[in-house]
């Protein structure tokens, strides 16, 4: 099986670091972006198998980011997981409406994170 590439988008370095640690330990290749804009730019040049994105970010938030990804045409079947906090049901709904595939609740548990990724990636 080829290595899966994951793009993580979050403005918190802590969360990015923890995602990176968990995902690379699980054998994924990890790309990082600090906001939606960076994430979009990265997707122009990089091919990834799954995206994990935060909602609250400067420059371009997660909802906008997902909308842009979906609108870009070539990423319509790219799974996008939304990293949410425990209280943001409405954000989750917004994320879903924008085209989010699934969600991960913060703080995340590594095993569950991996299993959620496998739930949306071939």
């Amino acid at each position: 099986m080829t290595t899966l590439r994951v793009l993580t988008v979050d403005d918190s370095r802590t969360i990015l670091a923890m995602l990176h640690h968990t995902l690379s330990n699980a054998g994924f290749e990890v790309l990082q972006a600090e906001d939606g804009k960076q994430g979009l730019d990265l997707l122009k040049t990089e091919t990834v198998d799954v995206v994990i994105t935060d909602i609250n970010m400067p420059v371009m938030d997660g909802i906008e980011f997902i909308k842009h990804v979906r609108a870009s045409g070539q990423h319509q079947s790219l799974p996008i997981l939304i990293l949410t906090t425990e209280t943001s049901q409405d954000k989750r709904d917004q994320g879903k409406a924008a085209g989010g595939t699934g969600w991960i609740v913060k703080p995340f548990d590594p095993e569950k994170l991996i299993s959620v990724i496998h739930r949306v990636v071939h």
């Binding site: 070539q74 079947s77 995340f108």
Partner: protein, 780 residues
């Protein structure tokens, strides 16, 4: 360092940046800039602090940040107005968050009731505003706390350090953890009809089946009866549904629902428990007998999609054939076989993918290629694109220090080489000389770059001060406003770290002794609110950091009296105003008549002086009675390398920091004038300057053979000048500072040592120290 510790370190770093950001945003918000951008930035900062805190189980911090965040969310929604009261409350809340962060960092446990008042005020605010709103939109606003309680409990139960054990807060876990194992074999029938939206969000039935298959013995039947004739086929519509039977000893409905969690709302799903008899044959009731395309799979084969791709290609060519054939006839006969083929081998190939591969007719949206088809591109880009998006790295300071040291040594070696090229060689080896010049340039550039790595804006220290001023303000009952200027000025990180204490002390001093009470200020015709101005600027090779207040100024009479009482100044000496001001830094001196809570914590301003001296800086104070006081720190840009002038005093080389030199003068012995106190002065362009004969000062015979003397005119603190008499001036160069204290002991008038290119040791003259020393000496 364990992974967790490393993450925590990252988290606390991030927190201090976010707290700085909060200070900045609120400074602007306080000034009236209450726009959505600022509010969003504040919200994000609190949100990020909370997010990380959750990961590490800092439950008190999470709890408070959560309540705060909710308040901010209401403000963002417009449910609560950003009034001055709310701003004040938020600023207080920032301080509490900062305290929680620092408690989390040190492991200190804050009292349980800490911050509860503010939390209660969040609630009160929300309720106060909500009385009208609540009835209208039916949204209760007091969801603040109890909505969040479960997470708090979970975090507590897990303990603070088990970030990776913290599954409890994870929604999905409930199903796993709380579902009792069922002993009997269960048989579930699931009807699953995806909608278009399911594919639009990149969900895929195949993956759902894969997950279900992991739960037990699974059979999937595709229901193809709704597939229209190809002519009516709408590529983006979904025609296929599935009937699944799942037999397992331990599966609950909750577990099955969990598999479909992400697609809830995007599909019709009926889950029924049939009984406990394992199903041997597919139940005919699910299948329309006349539809042949019913397929069973045990588990989706791994190479399914590869196969599917081939099939899609076949289908594509078929479709293109069909679309170019003008026929009105129904096509089921033609299609029967290919369709059958496809579903024999790729039964759960999603229609979205299939549809995505078909070039749509002109009015349709642009063709959409499945991700898989693009996968090969990643291989070629892998090597080049990996670092995209990475803009900075975090490096252990030790590693940078090692580089700094090596560069410093390189600087010495380079200057040694240059020095040892004598004139004869210079004339002969012009190429070598040119090479050395290039080497010197490169070394200098390298050194600057390395120093730049360690440079940081002073913002990180400045940002801690607004809070201090707020606290001082409430403790003293004085009204104090803090102004900061030049917070982007960069200084060596090692210097910055040493700045916090002295600055805190200086600001405390200003608030405590400088700024008057509001009544007194009004009586003096000043504004009620006093201002403390904290500024940073670069000045040559130095950074000047000033703390200025518009308070009463130093009470010189009292300072001098105290200094005489304490024996710091002899009774017969009358120091100048400037010297009196400087006395507040004398060891053991404190102007507070009674030790106050604020600045008199057992340490005086002498601690500021010694801290600053430790990092190669100096402190100067200037005061204007009734108008205010300015304390200035002069700090080196970097601790390691210094531009100096090499001079000779007696037989020994000394170096004088270039940054303090104004000019060098050659003059006759007769130019020096004796003053009654026993010292000498020199008139330079109409200004009398104190003269220090370094040879005498350093205990060498002051027999100067020649009438002509070399004088290095230096600037000490506060624009006061001092003239140093030396025997010879050798030249300028760069030296690497070696600490005298670490290798020997502190010597008055000497700032450190250095090793010269020829291997000799030279001492670095501390100009300010010499001058201050002379004052004290004569005063003693």
């Amino acid at each position: 360092m364990s992974d967790l510790d490393e993450f925590k370190a990252t988290y606390f770093d991030e927190c201090s940046e976010l707290l700085t950001e909060l200070e900045e945003q609120f400074a602007a918000i306080e000034a009236g800039e209450r726009d959505a951008d600022r509010l969003n930035a504040v919200f994000r900062a609190i949100h990020s602090i909370k997010g990380g805190a959750g990961a590490f189980g800092f439950s008190a911090l999470v709890g408070f940040a959560h309540a705060y965040e909710t308040l901010l969310d209401y403000v963002r929604d417009g449910r609560i107005e950003m009034s001055d009261d709310v701003v004040t409350l938020c600023i207080r809340a920032n301080d509490i968050v900062a305290d929680h962060v620092s408690a989390a960092r040190t492991g200190e446990v804050l009292p349980a009731e800490y911050g509860l008042d503010e939390k209660a005020r969040f609630d009160a605010l929300a309720r106060g505003e909500s009385i009208e709103d609540e009835d209208e939109n039916g949204e209760p606003l007091e969801e603040f706390d109890f909505e969040f309680t479960p997470v708090m409990v979970n975090l507590d139960a897990v303990g603070p350090s088990d970030a990776f054990e913290m599954g409890d807060a994870f929604d999905l876990d409930d199903a796993f953890d709380s579902a009792p194992l069922q002993a009997e074999v269960g048989h579930w029938e699931i009807n699953f009809t995806p909608h278009r939206a399911l594919y639009a969000r990149a969900n895929d039935p195949l993956l759902l089946f894969r997950e279900l298959a992991a739960l037990g013995d699974m059979h999937v039947r595709a229901v193809l009866r709704d597939i229209p004739p190809l002519a009516e086929f709408e590529p983006f519509d979904v025609y296929c549904s599935w009937e699944i039977s799942l037999v397992s000893a331990s599966v609950t409905e909750a577990l099955i629902r969990e598999v479909f969690e992400f697609v809830e709302g995007d599909c019709d799903i009926v889950i029924a428990q049939v009984g406990d008899v394992p199903m041997a044959q597919p139940k005919p009731v699910f299948v329309e007998p006349e539809v042949e395309a019913v397929v069973e799979i045990e588990e989706p084969p791994a190479d399914l999609l590869a196969l599917a791709d081939d099939e899609v290609a076949d289908l594509l060519s078929l479709v293109s054939e069909l679309t170019t054939t003008p026929t009105a006839e129904p096509l089921p006969d033609v299609l029967a076989d290919p369709v059958q083929d496809i579903f024999d081998e790729a039964p759960v190939m999603s229609f979205a993918e299939l549809a995505a591969s078909i070039p749509p007719p002109p009015p349709k949206p642009a063709p959409v290629a499945p991700v898989r088809a693009m996968a090969p591109a990643s291989d070629s880009e892998e090597s080049t694109g990996r670092s995209v998006g990475v803009q900075s790295i975090r490096v252990d300071l030790d590693k940078v220090d090692r580089v700094v040291n090596m560069v410093s040594e390189l600087v010495i070696t380079q200057s040694m080489l240059t020095q040892q090229m004598d004139e004869a060689l210079r004339a002969k080896y012009t190429e070598l000389v040119r090479g050395l010049e290039v080497l010197a340039q490169t070394t200098r550039g390298l050194q600057d770059s390395v120093m730049a790595i360690r440079a940081q804006p002073v913002k990180s220290v400045f940002s801690r001060m607004p809070r201090l001023v707020r606290e001082l303000s409430s403790q003293t009952g004085k009204k104090i406003r803090l102004e900061t200027v030049g917070e982007n000025t960069e200084i060596d990180k090692t210097v910055i770290e040493q700045l916090s204490d002295p600055l805190t002390h200086m600001i405390r001093n200003s608030a405590d002794h400088g700024i008057e009470s509001p009544e007194k200020r009004v009586a003096m015709g000043k504004s009620e609110t006093g201002t403390v101005r904290l500024s940073a600027e670069q000045s040559g090779g130095n950074i000047l950091i000033a703390v200025e207040d518009d308070g009463a100024g130093i009470n010189r009479e009292r300072v001098l009296q105290l200094a005489r009482d304490k024996g710091i100044v002899a009774p017969d000496v009358q120091p100048t105003d400037e010297q009196i001001d400087q006395l507040i830094f004398a060891p053991g001196f404190s102007t507070a008549e009674a030790l106050s809570d604020i600045s008199g914590r057992g340490v005086g301003m002498d601690v500021v002086l010694s801290n600053i001296k430790k990092i190669g800086g100096s402190v100067h104070v200037r005061s204007w009675t009734g108008k205010g006081t300015r304390m200035t720190l002069r700090l080196p840009l970097t601790l390691a390398v210094l531009d100096v002038m090499l001079v000779k005093v007696g037989p020994s080389p000394y170096v004088v920091p270039l940054s303090s030199i104004v000019e060098t003068i050659q003059c006759s012995r007769a130019s020096f004038e004796r003053v009654p106190s026993g010292g000498q002065v020199l008139q330079v362009r109409g200004e009398y300057v104190q003269v220090i004969d370094l040879a005498t000062r350093f205990g060498m015979a002051s027999e100067h053979a020649s009438e002509s003397r070399f004088v290095v005119l230096c600037e000490a603190e506060g624009n006061s000048k001092v003239a140093l008499i030396v025997d010879d001036i050798i030249g300028q160069q760069q030296v690497v500072i070696k600490s005298l204290e670490e290798n020997f002991e502190r010597v008055d008038g000497i700032a450190g040592g250095t090793i010269l290119g020829d291997g000799n040791v030279a001492l670095i003259v501390d100009v300010q120290g010499l001058k201050t020393n002379v004052v004290h000496k004569s005063a003693a």
